[in-house]
């Protein structure tokens, strides 16, 4: 089987992510990858596949060090397509298991129903699913994140930086998952300044998931918010965020990225001076921990929730634009880590 080479994008983003300044709770940054492993790892991506920076790509980045350290470790990959039904996703997972992949990482909650069906059929295969904890088979490991905590911290940063007392949130697709980002961001901003105005919008409604990869609409939405008085806008919208950063750089306002350090994406090279920070959702860390455990034969069944305290979410300081604020942000972060502050997950609450 031919091993796919890491795409140009992947290499740069990977290198960038590894060297970026990263602030997470415990900073459980890449331990040395285990050696002398063999077998096949499977990754089933959600829409767009590995080359979509952020979410999908982070799953790959999570296993990349292991693959580099072990020549006899293979990777097979497959990605979702928009017309797929649960049945078709189940077939994809089945095929990966039949090909001998173990463990298999499943990226995205849309796979939940398919995994619930397939996991019992392959009791000897270990499965890990990102963003879902509804599948409770003994061979399924759930990797979920407290996106609201990371979003809270960038909300704090945005409110501290804002001079106009007006910030914005752009969600990719209107789903409960993205609502957690929105809820956290609003709560963080209001924690700093109860009177702050938070504008909020979503790019598309499911089942149209194009909102996660539509820079043109992201640009228009961001421009509208800046023209409405916002001076910091946060997008939890995958590839759509590129449009936000473009608008921010043109208008001389601040933008906030999501998932990985967006200031290090090659496509954002022209916009780095206006990217204030990025909210980190360390899918790579969660996937790496799961895959390492599964390959080592550790029982991984159950749910692992990655919050700020676990190093699963955080924010970046690349560019140094929030260096004057980090001491204040850290005070809020400490309250989350200690449990004094519980960040809401519903923006309407």
């Amino acid at each position: 089987m031919q091993k796919k080479l890491l795409g140009r994008w992947g290499v740069i983003a990977l290198a960038a992510t590894l060297t970026a300044t990263v602030v997470t709770g415990c900073g459980s940054d890449s331990e040395d990858a285990a050696e002398n492993l063999s077998g096949t790892i499977g990754i089933a991506y959600s829409l767009g596949g590995r080359d979509v920076p952020g979410f999908n790509q982070l799953a790959y980045i999570g296993v990349e060090p292991l693959l580099a350290a072990n020549d006899s470790l293979e990777l097979i990959e497959s990605q979702d397509n928009p017309t797929a039904t649960d049945d078709q996703r189940a077939e994809r997972l089945r095929l990966m298991a039949q090909k001998g992949a173990n463990p298999i990482v499943v990226v995205g909650f849309t796979y939940a129903a398919a995994l619930a069906k397939v996991a019992p059929e392959f009791p000897d295969t270990t499965w890990g699913i990102v963003d879902d904890s509804s599948v409770t088979a003994p061979n399924v490991h759930s990797i979920v994140f407290k996106e609201e905590e990371g979003s809270y911290l960038v909300g704090v940063a945005a409110a501290l930086k804002s001079k106009s007392n007006n910030v914005g949130f752009i969600g990719g697709v209107n789903t409960p998952l993205i609502a957690k980002f929105e809820a956290g961001f609003i709560a963080g901003a209001k924690a700093v300044n109860a009177g702050i105005k938070v504008q909020s919008t979503y790019i598309s409604n499911f089942p149209d998931f194009s909102g996660f990869n539509d820079p043109a609409k992201g640009y228009e939405a961001a421009k509208g918010m800046y023209e409405n008085g916002a001076d910091v806008v946060y997008a939890a919208a995958g590839g759509t965020g590129t449009g936000l950063h473009k608008a921010a750089s043109e208008l001389g306002k601040w933008s906030v990225g999501v998932d990985a350090d967006e200031a290090t994406y090659p496509a954002h090279a022209d916009y780095v001076t206006t990217i204030l920070t990025s909210m980190l959702k360390r899918v790579d860390v969660g996937v790496a921990a799961f895959v390492a455990d599964a390959l080592a034969g550790v029982d991984t069944a159950g749910v692992k929730t990655w919050g700020f305290a676990e190093g699963g979410v955080g924010y970046t300081t690349t560019g140094g634009y929030i260096d004057d604020l980090t001491s204040q942000i850290e005070e809020y972060a400490a309250k989350i880590a200690s449990g004094d502050v519980v960040v809401p997950t519903d923006p309407k609450a």
């Binding site: 497959s78 397509n81 017309t83 049945d87 078709q88 077939e91 095929l95 879902d132 499911f206 089942p207």
Partner: protein, 363 residues
């Protein structure tokens, strides 16, 4: 006569598929993989009995979308609203199905009728706008697709008609009780949706309606020439309106096989993008119920076997390239076949004429 019609009818699709294969062959060769190996693996995976079952289930959904598009095409209507009509049908079918408790057959019938009503009524908006306001159904349907998505997104919240099971991020309607579920036929280690029979019935009804009824005659007449149909007494605007609703009602059934035999609830994981698929399939199948079935199966086969490509390091987009080139070549192929056909007819007519005139001369 019919034999040659079948020959010419199948020649174009076969030519289109062949030219698409050649195109993909070249792409794969350029990428440095052996196309024959890939094709062989796709075929051997795709024809495993279990996968055939799964492909058949997907074929049912594509078939409904293809028939919905074909009804529109017969009237020269470009029903790009199949996506929205399918969503409305599946969503309201799921909601109504979960809300009531009826004896099994009644319950399933109610869900199917609800889905057809929801899809048909949604399409009726575009039909009304076309007939009464002269608005192109393409424009209004594209907008209606977005509006349908927004309405469902609004209704499928936890405050209204949706639920979010513990630990899930996938908003869904409540489960349809057992009496509203359709059984599956266990075969080859898989489960065939019994909605297959509804799909077959729809295919037959479509053919009979079109070819054996006055309504079907009027429909085809209006499609061929709006003015000629009207001046011969057909209520042409009314025909357009009813055809739009019929097309929408069939589109409303696209997701019902999955809903009643597999998921039992409508969720965010339901697929999108049936409109273009339906239109492509109707084109490929020449609006014929049997042709559309083969086209739908081919589509389903190509999509199912896409992961095989991925494991060989070939991007799955090759599948989309393949589908795209098939559609593109089919348009060209039909045109070529039609020209050859026409020339043959002309030659035949010419021959008859020549014979007739030579007969005259000899007299």
């Amino acid at each position: 006569m019919t034999k040659s019609r079948i020959f010419w009818g199948t020649l174009a699709p076969v030519a289109a598929i062949l030219s698409s294969l050649i195109f993909v062959y070249i792409i794969l060769t350029i990428r440095g993989v052996n196309p024959i190996d890939i094709f062989a693996e796709m075929v051997s995976y795709g024809f495993q009995p279990r996968n055939l079952v799964s492909e058949l289930n997907q074929t049912i959904a594509y078939y409904m979308a293809g028939v919905a598009a074909a009804i529109g095409f017969k009237m020269l209507l470009f029903n790009i609203g199949i996506d929205g009509q399918y969503r409305m049908g599946a969503f309201f079918g799921a909601v109504v199905g979960a809300a009531v408790n009826l004896p099994p057959i009644l319950h399933v019938t109610l869900i199917i009728i609800t889905a057809m009503l929801a899809g048909g009524l949604w399409a009726a908006i575009a039909g009304y706008l076309k007939v009464r306001r002269g608005i192109s159904e393409v424009i209004s349907n594209i907008m209606l697709n977005f509006i349908a998505a927004a309405i469902i997104a609004f209704l499928l919240s936890e405050d209204l008609l949706g639920t979010l099971p513990e630990g899930s991020q996938n908003l869904q309607t409540r489960k349809i009780p057992l009496s509203g579920q359709m059984p599956t036929i266990k075969a080859f280690n898989g489960e065939i949706y019994s909605f297959l029979f509804v799909a077959i019935a729809v295919g037959i009804a479509y053919w009979v309606m079109l070819n054996k009824t006055v309504f079907g005659f009027n429909l085809r007449a209006t499609g061929l020439s709006f003015r000629a149909a009207r001046s011969s007494g057909v209520n042409a605007p009314g025909m357009i309106f009813i055809t739009t609703i019929l097309s929408g009602a069939i589109a409303g059934l696209v997701g019902i096989g999955t809903l009643l035999s597999d998921t039992h609830s409508y969720s965010m994981a339901f697929p999108a993008g049936y409109a273009f698929t339906g239109l492509a399939l109707a084109l490929l199948g020449r609006n014929h119920p049997v042709g559309i079935f083969f086209a739908a199966f081919l589509w389903s086969f190509l999509e199912r076997t896409a992961p095989v490509l991925e494991f060989e390091g070939v991007p799955p987009e090759i599948t989309i390239v393949m589908q795209g080139t098939i559609v593109l070549s089919i348009v060209v192929a039909y045109e070529l076949v039609a020209r050859v056909n026409l020339r043959q007819q002309q030659r035949a007519v010419g021959k008859v004429n020549a014979e007739a005139s030579s007969l005259k001369e000899s007299q």
